[in-house]
């Protein structure tokens, strides 16, 4: 990409400075790698330690004599205990169900709204575009009591459907905002051309904007996925029976037993719960970054 071509272009363009420039570059590269190695160690230490704990037996965890960063007697029993536990698998499916529905709902709402706000304009649209972002000023720790009444009034308490209803408050604003930026960055000539061709607004959106804005859409989708997979306060407040619990709250509420923690299982559960987002990122990270590049920088 551009970095490599630039690296090649530099020494040629300003030849007389090549020696010092090369030294500077080498030094910069060394600094970069040292920083990255240190950062990677710090960033990965907690998950690695969680993993090490998860393959220890309870007795080994309780034993203080050895190196905590080493596993003497590795076991997979914490994982098998969870995977063969139908309740735990239930958490997983609940999370999958809620997250997929919320992501679909979020994208439908925010693509439509962002297109209307970013490209069409109507009375108050400017205000709304700003207001969307401000919804994050209202913390979920404040909202859950009034929301509880709404969800309860709809008979959706203790049900994953209740979560599908309230999670969009967490995802829609940011996604809409990213998409507004992305749509705004698309050249105006495109829709003019489409209008002249007689396309209506919906056709314009589906035929031109969605394909062009796909990286932005994927970025927003990943964001929505991460947030709804990790949501904590709302499921804590709205879900009480294990059968309806999503992964996060299920792991925390069923594996923590107040004053006695099953640390091995807890860590295994936490890592299993973290797996889907990790996989999604591993495959779609490039889109994510490309989407942000075009969308968010325009803000």
């Amino acid at each position: 990409m551009s970095t490599t071509t630039a690296a090649a272009a530099h020494p040629r363009g300003i030849f007389h400075k090549a020696g010092s420039l090369r030294a500077e570059r080498r030094w910069a590269l060394v600094t970069a790698y040292i920083s990255l190695v240190i950062a990677a160690i710090i960033m990965l230490a907690p998950p690695v330690y969680m993993f090490l704990t998860s393959i220890k037996t309870s007795a080994e965890i309780a034993d203080l004599s050895g190196n905590p960063w080493w596993v003497r007697d590795p076991t997979l029993e914490n994982y098998t205990a969870l995977i063969f536990n139908p309740m735990f698998r239930g958490f997983f499916w609940n999370s999958v169900k809620v997250t997929l529905l919320v992501v679909a709902l979020t994208m439908a709402i925010s693509i439509l709204a962002a297109f209307a706000l970013g490209r069409m304009r109507f009375w108050g649209s400017q205000w709304l575009a700003t207001g969307v972002f401000l919804t994050y000023l209202v913390p979920d720790t404040l909202l859950f009591i009034p929301l509880y009444q709404i969800v309860g009034g709809l008979g959706l308490l203790d049900s994953t459907w209740g979560l599908v209803l309230v999670y969009p408050t967490l995802t829609v604003p940011f996604c809409t905002w990213i998409m507004i930026g992305y749509f705004a960055s698309i050249p105006k000539e495109l829709d003019e051309a489409a209008l002249i061709d007689g396309a209506n607004w919906m056709q314009m959106l589906t035929r031109i904007f969605i394909p062009v804005a796909l990286p932005g859409i994927i970025a927003a989708t990943i964001f929505a996925f991460t947030v709804s997979w990790a949501a904590f306060v709302y499921p804590t407040a709205f879900i009480t029976s294990p059968a309806e619990m999503p992964m996060t709250i299920g792991v925390v509420s069923q594996l923590i037993r107040g004053d006695t923690f099953a640390w091995g299982q807890l860590m295994a559960g936490a890592l299993l719960a973290a797996l889907p987002p990790v996989i999604v990122y591993a495959f779609l990270m490039d889109y994510y970054i490309a989407g942000l590049t075009a969308g968010a920088t325009k803000g």
């Binding site: 007795a59 309780a62 509880y148 009444q149 309860g152 804590t236 004053d259 006695t260």
Partner: protein, 451 residues
């Protein structure tokens, strides 16, 4: 009850349960289903202990043709507190729910009075635990039935080997697994305790006494205050902080004691003391037997050396920290009479004993006459290790809850804000003068009383 209902309709609504319940065992011989009940209970810390309530609910539900659904909600992450608050706000949710100690007062006007149930039970089993009564009775009426499942006391859970070795105390001889006091039990005072704490601290196995804001910390410090007669307020909630010699005395003691505790007890939660004991790094904690039960699984060599003994006594006597759960019935529920009958059923002696046994002796029943279940004699190893876990007459002790005798509204706030441990922490950890700390606590209390 409502007029114009058919007999069967009334049965279905659970009205018949009350009539039957008045005679004795609540039996409803209705045909078909008598409706359904949904209860939320505290999710028990002792593995498998939820099974007791499950089995009881199933048995009762089949007998009375009621569809029973039980949910178990954890207090970790305050999930139970959240659920209670949200259900009270939205006036919808379970029929009955486990309430934390101060909740019957907070939600009193939304809870169905259960005087009839408590009246019948008291007739059979005598006196209710006075602290449970103080907490569950509000505005002259019982707002819930004190629960067996989850209700705990917090005596000393100690390593007899370490105390013998480092402090020269033979606690098994002092408090044998019999209904009698042993030699040296009269010397089991806070002063002796301090000396033992110092010795164990020096030996590298300090007492694991939490000083944070979780219930374990607030409860044991509450009992300590009670045994010195130190009160932060009077019965009407007026601060009694100024010129309070008992308060200064207990603060002085607590500060001295805290020097012999691990340096981070100020941030300990309810599990930290358990871990300290299980890891073998601590000679004594104040806790229900759950720490011992886990040690039995993960560190058997620790568990074999554990022994539960009463709390030490102070100038005003011996007190035992007590943390009861109360099961309340929401006034907005539809099947309240059936709910009452179910609560009465699970509180009967044989069922309370069944519950307590299931929890390996962790659960303390609400009636004083029930302090003699077999489980506390038989659990081990070592056998008899939790014999002295419930309060027994020969302990010559009383149950306590922190901040009594303050009015419940105020006491609840003081309890949640952990004013007692914070007061100690300000002096011992924050290096404030006693006067400055007392001035602070008085302002806090006055602030809590406003609005």
């Amino acid at each position: 009850m409502a007029k114009g209902l058919t007999r069967r309709g009334a049965m279905r609504a659970g009205a018949g349960v009350l009539a039957a319940g008045a005679v004795g065992a609540p039996m409803v011989h209705a045909q078909g289903s008598a409706g359904s009940l949904r209860f939320a209970f505290w999710d028990h810390w002792v593995p498998g202990a939820n099974g007791a309530l499950q089995q009881l609910a199933q048995r009762w539900g089949e007998r009375n043709r009621v569809n029973m659904t039980l949910d178990f909600i954890n207090t970790t992450g305050n999930q139970l507190q959240l659920t209670i608050a949200a259900q009270a706000q939205s006036r919808s949710g379970h029929d009955g729910i486990s309430l934390l100690p101060w909740d019957p007062g907070t939600y009193a006007n939304q809870l169905e009075p259960v005087d009839d149930v408590m009246g019948r039970l008291s007739q059979k089993y005598g006196q209710v635990n006075p602290i449970a009564e103080f907490l569950a009775k509000r505005g002259g009426a019982w707002r819930g039935v004190p629960a067996t499942s989850g209700t705990q006391t917090k005596p000393a859970l100690a390593r007899f080997d370490l105390l013998q070795q480092h402090a020269g105390l033979d606690i098994r001889a002092m408090w044998p697994a019999r209904n009698e006091r042993g030699p040296g039990s009269d010397q089991w005072t806070w002063d002796t305790f301090l000396r033992a704490a110092e010795a164990c601290h020096r030996a590298g196995v300090p007492f694991g006494l939490p000083m944070g804001q979780f219930t374990d910390a607030v409860d044991w410090v509450g009992a300590l205050f009670a045994s010195y007669g130190a009160r932060l307020t009077d019965e009407r909630g007026n601060p009694t902080v100024r010129n309070n010699q008992e308060l200064r005395q207990v603060l002085d003691y607590a500060v001295r004691l805290s020097r012999f505790l691990p340096n981070d007890v100020w941030a300990w939660d309810d599990a930290s003391n358990n871990r300290a004991l299980i890891s073998g790094r601590s000679a004594l904690i104040f806790n229900p037997p759950s720490a011992w039960a886990v040690a039995k699984r993960d560190a058997p060599q620790v568990a074999e050396n554990c022994w539960t003994i009463p709390m030490p006594s102070g100038p005003r006597g011996r007190f035992l920290a007590y943390l009861p759960y109360v099961t309340g019935i929401w006034a907005f529920g539809r099947n309240k009479n059936a709910a009452k009958a179910f609560l009465e059923f699970i509180t009967e002696r044989e069922n309370a004993e069944f519950t307590s046994t299931f929890s390996q002796g962790y659960d303390i029943p609400p009636f004083l006459s029930m302090a003699d279940f077999r489980v506390w004699e038989t659990e081990g190893p070592p056998v008899g290790t939790i014999f002295n876990y419930p309060l027994k007459p020969h302990h010559q002790a009383s149950y306590s809850i922190a901040f009594s005798p303050a009015p419940p509204d105020l006491a609840q706030q003081m309890y949640i804000q952990a004013l007692n441990t914070k007061l100690i922490a300000r002096i011992a950890q924050g290096n404030e003068s006693v006067d400055a700390a007392l001035g602070w606590v008085e302002r806090e209390i006055n602030n809590m009383r406003r609005g």
